[in-house]
Amino acid sequence: MGSCARGLALPVAEDQIWAIMDASSAIPAIAVENLVKRYKAATAVDGISFRLPAGTVTGLLGGNGAGKTTTIAMIMGLVAPTAGTVSVLGAQMPKQRYRVLHRMNFESPYVDMPMRLTVRQNLSVFAQLYAVRDAAGRIANLAADLDLTEFLDRPAGKLSAGQKTRVSLAKSLLNRPDVLLLDEPTASLDPDTADWVRARLERYRAETGATILLASHNMNEVERLCERVIIMKKGRIEDDDTPARLLARYGRETLEEVFLDVARGRDREAAS
């Protein structure tokens, strides 16, 4: 399939990428070790571990309740782990979060921008919170890049779902984050807008070398954007590899088929 090479036009071969990942660079952008999150009787995340080297794009796949959002929330420091550790750019989360929060950002359908403020007001407030230099220029550039210029002085609540997603994406890119966490960034978008958003993300990664962790239900999105896929089920990691290796191992043509095999409990041998 060669998804990552096709989508991101990487300068190295896929096997080399995986070798780089395995080498476990000195300070991975994100390191998750034996991470557990329990809510009373329910276990949302059950002892997962992974390390994401800087500059990689990784997809986090899983059905509803697989633990993707909880995992991302723990990486962001919004949720404290029950056990295990999360570090981002060398800082333990959530304890040392203020060392790195200015170098991170996120976009999620579970949070909104204040609806009565205009897009420009919203973005300028966040630019000030992140101490963005030349905030007006940065907002103008992002607006032009994300096709938001004509909406800048419109209240955020008056925008369509697609426009709101682009505003959220603009907010998440304001501080040029080194680590970008995206929770279903193209959910509820039409195919054209979703494709357009993916293109912007690809360009941002190519330009900045940022580390991106992407939770998604959209397999095409993951195939296009990600060089590594972590599949979660019931709070655990069921598989973790490059898209091409997953396809080969399960004997499937698409990641969606692989995902269905994992979700329905078909093991690799049976699937193939």
């Binding site: 809510y39 959002t69 949720v79 991170m104 999620s108 407030v125 919170l129 992140y130």
Partner: protein
């Protein structure tokens, strides 16, 4: 690098960003601006006319000119101060914006400072016109209290922030299920702090409770000023001492509730 991004760093720039955000919100809706003035005006007029009626039938109240109007205006500082703080905080929950803020470099102390500033801004918009209406309708000049008014104000606003901070912690921990606390908690202070009557009216055992609440000292001080024409600095200092202790307790409770919210995962579920 670590020290430059510690938990205890305080940025006036980030406080200014939050104040700007709330200011945009305030001026985006004229009904909300009107609401700030409407109820204090109604209260002042009602108690003013009642005072006028009672004074014409009672020698005591004729001598205690302005006690009711003074009490209602000072009560509004206490009540509206807390409401101004809590409503600004609730705006973040209504807008589902807490996740964005909690993942930004904004520190809790900066967030609280911005809410305190906004409580004064909202209070000023609501109360200053009403104090001039009190002069026009009843010849009662709150400003003529001079330094005493400053002492009353400092103590009342400190108490209002204390309650506001505690309620914000409850909202973080329990989500919108705790919203009613923001609107009603201060009414517990109405009978206990003896806004409209002397502490001596209370049953003996309840007087101990009353004297543990800083606003009681303010309302007793106001009556001493208006009836006996004596400024009781001793009462103001005692109120200040109680306020400092309670404010510290509220900040501690807020931080503990925030920590608990991280453990319970409620920072991403503000609407629950």
């Amino acid at each position: 690098m670590a020290s430059a991004h510690s938990t205890f760093e305080f940025s006036l720039n980030r406080v200014a960003a939050m104040v700007r955000r709330y200011w945009y919100l305030l001026i985006s809706s004229w009904p909300r601006l009107l609401d700030l003035v409407y109820w204090p005006t109604v209260q002042m007029l009602m108690w003013g006319f009642l005072q006028t009626y009672v004074a014409s039938n009672s020698g005591y109240f004729a001598n205690a000119a302005g006690v009711f109007i003074g009490a209602v205006l000072l009560w509004d500082i206490l009540f509206r101060g807390q409401l101004g703080f809590s409503i600004s905080f609730l705006e973040e929950m209504w807008a589902r914006n807490l996740g964005n803020l909690m993942m930004s470099p904004l520190r809790p102390a900066e967030f609280i400072s911005a809410l305190m500033i906004m409580s004064i801004v909202r209070l000023s918009i609501g109360m200053i016109p009403v104090t001039f209406l009190a002069i026009a309708f009843f010849g009662f000049n709150l400003w003529s209290m001079g330094l005493a008014l400053a002492a009353f104000f400092v103590n009342l606003i400190l108490t209002s922030w204390t309650i506001g901070i505690f309620v914000a912690g409850l909202l973080l921990r329990n989500g919108m299920g705790a919203e009613s606390m923001a609107w009603t908690i201060m009414f517990l202070f109405l009978p206990l702090t003896c806004v409209y009557y002397p502490v001596a009216v209370l049953p003996h055992w309840l007087q101990y409770v009353a004297w543990s609440l800083p606003p009681t000292y303010v309302f007793e001080g106001m009556r001493a000023l208006l009836i006996d024409h004596v400024f009781r600095s001793d009462l103001m200092l005692e109120a200040l001492a109680f306020n400092v202790v309670l404010f510290g307790g509220a900040v501690f409770a807020f931080l503990k509730l925030l920590e608990s919210a991280r453990t319970q995962g409620s920072l991403l579920q503000g609407a629950d």
